[in-house]
């Protein structure tokens, strides 16, 4: 009797526990990303599929880059983010500082064609704290409607005030602009960073920027350049290629991207040291690394995968049916003159260049 009684209680307890477990499938992770059309592309591209497959809910938050918040959370021991979408320079820096978990490359899923990750990924895409998820590019674009007559085609044209008078939009940051300035001054791609390693090279870049300084409108958020081009506030502007693409296909703007001299950049999904749900975060990062996830993002925004087998899966834009391949930064026609952003150089020189850039702006 006693025994039966006890076992019954036991059974009830078990049932309650499993019931509670069923309700608690509210297992969730907090993912922090860049917002706007990019975040939307990720949600549609693979977040939904991830939740459907694993039952783990994704709480999405926006941020504007940088490590300040991550560092504040980790230092205070009160981490409430699980995964953060970082640009490569920040990711490597955060990894060196112990803010992000070192990841195990063996957990990366195999390629769509069965190839091993190390063969499938582009060279250098697998770093200590994560594998790069996509390539995006900083280019310059113009609004064909507002720029009658001759059209710019090269990086040199961006700096040519005589043939193309009018205001330019540029990001308020030395990053990418110094590279643009040197390429616009005729420096070959492979010599840009070697030149920037010298004082004369830096001076040359700033001197080149000086020639257009009075005509530049500076932007900060990625959403600004398409707006400025549409309004006619500027005749051409540097921008992220995905934002221009969105304006082209969704808003039917007659923007044209000049791919010459594009600066290619990348980033990865980092898991915070001390993340509240590390196993969920790991599953998410692994899911995002699947070729199908990468190709899913590429159905919504023109940022290209970092895996060869994912590239093969690229099809058309999900909403408009536009062929995506011609809009990707590393499509051969677009990639005739490409500079790969040297995060190593920038992590060494960013602070110094920022001060110099601010001093130059204020002059």
């Amino acid at each position: 009797m006693n025994f039966i009684h006890r076992s019954r209680i036991h059974a009830i307890a078990l049932a309650t526990a499993s019931l509670a477990g069923a309700f608690a499938t509210a297992e969730s992770i907090t993912v922090v990303s860049w917002g706007g059309s990019y975040a939307k592309a990720c949600v549609e591209g693979y977040h939904k599929a991830f939740t459907a497959e694993t039952g783990i809910e994704i709480k999405l938050e926006d941020y504007n880059g940088g490590l300040a918040e991550v560092r504040a959370q980790v230092d205070a021991g009160a981490v409430h983010w699980d995964v953060v979408d970082v640009e490569l320079a920040d990711g490597v820096r955060g990894c060196d500082e112990g803010l992000f978990k070192v990841f195990d490359p063996d957990t990366l899923p195999a390629g769509a064609d069965g190839s091993t990750p190390s063969d499938d990924y582009y060279p250098g895409a697998i770093t200590e704290c994560g594998a790069n998820t996509l390539y995006y590019s900083t280019i310059y674009a113009y609004n064909a409607e507002k720029l009658p007559g001759e059209k710019p085609t090269t990086m040199e044209d961006f700096f040519d005030m005589e043939r193309f008078p009018g205001r330019r939009g540029m990001r308020r940051s030395p990053v990418v602009n110094l590279e643009f300035a040197l390429m616009g001054d005729g420096v070959p791609v492979e010599e840009v960073y070697a030149l920037l390693d010298t004082e004369a090279g830096i001076q040359r870049a700033f001197d080149k920027l000086d020639t257009i300084k009075d005509h530049v409108v500076w932007w900060e958020a990625g959403a600004q350049p398409p707006q400025m081009l549409a309004d006619g506030e500027v005749i051409m502007s540097t921008a992220y290629n995905g934002r221009i693409f969105n304006a082209q296909v969704l808003e039917k703007q007659s923007f044209v991207i000049v791919w010459d001299g594009q600066v290619l950049d990348t980033g990865f999904l980092a898991i915070l040291e001390g993340a509240p749900n590390p196993s969920g975060a790991q599953r998410f990062v692994d899911f995002a690394a699947r070729p199908s996830s990468m190709a899913g993002v590429a159905r919504y925004i023109s940022y290209s995968p970092t895996r060869h087998s994912a590239e093969a899966l690229i099809t058309t834009h999900a909403e408009t049916g536009v062929e995506m391949r011609p809009h990707m930064p590393n499509t051969p026609e677009n990639a005739k003159r490409v500079l790969h952003n040297d995060w190593q150089w920038w992590s060494d020189n960013r602070d110094d260049m920022n001060v110099r850039f601010a001093a130059w702006l204020a002059r």
Partner: protein, 403 residues
């Protein structure tokens, strides 16, 4: 009879929560901030033995083999403990380019390193083979400098000075001088905004204080509604109005005052900062002025007129002196708010309208150089206190009235 606490002491006890609150929310953070500007022991903690060895170094040439062996060991350990990046960031601030040298050194040394230098006769050779920077005097000076827990570096940087290799203090090269011009600009903008607020706010306050009660309520609400509206909304509203293709430019073009290709640049520059800041801060001028003006009987002006004063004389000699406490209060309020202003210049200031607080935010959020941010903020704080004291001496703080 039982002797309790004296009533006075008990009354004082009531202020304990307040004092505790101020200590926790104001004095403690301020103290931490000021400490950060002169004290940072991170590198000293990550590379303690290297610092001990370098303490005996005469700072010429490169240090002894012992220093090379010690730093190699400590860099390897820092990599395993994942503190390497923190040390590298701080060393890089002193000498740009050393971040990658510090980070790659243990990576190149590999995993299982014993006490013998791998693939070289000496640790010196091993490190120089990894990067030539290890053979340079400047590298070791930077490491030694970064290892000093107490430093005046941030305060020197904050006023565009640096310590030269020979220990003398000199001005930064011109291409890197930024903070002193920014402080001056901040001061100038704050004074300008205060003056504009006074010129615009004085007549408004006067109108509210002396209009009939119905009008006065309406006018007061018109001042208060923007005051209650989000700062961001008001600032972005100015962008809509003033931008190149904005409402104001459109009207000017439609009226033929400016040509379509000669639209005025009124935003993303100093003009934008001035206009938006003046608008945002105007209520802080109007409200103290209004409360002071309301208490001035209109009879005073009538009396002055009946004694033969012209309206101008009556204003200058009777009305204006009575409003001075309000002018003082409003100006001080606006000025102190303006000097620390951050969001508005960041949004509408463009390249020429940035203020010192934008630089502080940059070092807090982006470069993560909290020491320098703290030094910049401390100088700003000192400047405000200095101006407050000056104001007290010249005008007298007891003459200020907020209402």
């Amino acid at each position: 009879m039982k002797v309790g606490l004296s009533p006075r002491l008990r009354a004082a006890g009531l202020t304990v929560p307040l004092i505790a609150f101020i200590a926790v929310t104001f004095i403690a953070p301020l103290g931490t901030l000021l400490t950060r500007s002169v004290y940072d022991a991170e590198v000293a903690e990550i590379l303690p033995r290297t610092m001990a060895v370098l303490a005996d170094w005469d700072t010429s040439g490169t240090p002894s083999e012992a220093a090379y062996a010690t730093i190699a060991m400590e860099l390897l350990r820092a990599r395993d403990e994942r503190t390497l990046g923190r040390a590298a960031t701080r060393i890089n601030r002193i000498e740009s380019g050393l971040r990658s040298v510090v980070v790659k050194t243990p990576r190149r040394l590999g995993r299982d390193v014993g006490t013998e230098p791998p693939g070289a006769e000496t640790w010196r050779d091993a490190l120089v083979a990894i990067d030539e920077a290890w053979g340079e005097n400047a590298t070791w000076r930077a490491i030694r400098e970064a290892g000093q827990p107490f430093t005046s570096r941030h305060f020197l940087n904050a006023v565009d000075l640096e310590t030269r290799a020979d220990g003398s203090i000199a001005a930064m090269p011109e291409s890197r001088r930024i903070y002193v011009p920014l402080y001056l600009r901040t001061l100038w903008v704050s004074l300008g905004v205060t003056a504009l607020c006074l010129v615009i706010g004085y007549p408004i306050a006067h109108a509210i204080a002396h209009a009939g009660s119905r009008w006065s309520t309406t006018l007061l609400v018109l001042v208060l509604v923007p005051f209650w509206t989000s700062l961001l909304v008001r600032t972005t509203a100015w962008i809509v109005l003033l931008q190149n293709q904005g409402v104001v430019n459109d009207i000017l073009v439609a009226l033929g005052i400016v040509a379509d290709d000669g639209r005025l640049a009124m935003i993303y520059n100093m003009t934008g900062t001035f206009v938006a800041m003046t608008h945002v801060l105007l209520p802080f001028m109007v409200l103290p002025l209004y409360s002071v003006m309301r208490s001035i009987p209109t009879r005073h002006m009538d009396a002055a007129a009946s004694l033969g004063a012209t309206p101008m004389q009556a204003f200058r000699r009777v009305y204006w002196p009575q409003t001075l406490p309000g002018v003082g209060a409003g100006s001080l309020l606006v000025f102190i708010l303006a000097i620390g202003y951050y969001i508005t210049p960041a949004l509408v200031g463009g390249q020429s309208g940035q203020l010192i607080s934008n630089m502080i935010a940059y070092h807090m959020q982006t470069s993560l150089n909290w020491g320098l941010a703290a030094a910049l903020a401390a100088i700003l704080l000192l400047a405000v206190i200095g101006l407050y004291v000056l104001y007290d001496r010249v005008v007298g703080i007891d003459r200020m009235r907020l209402g």
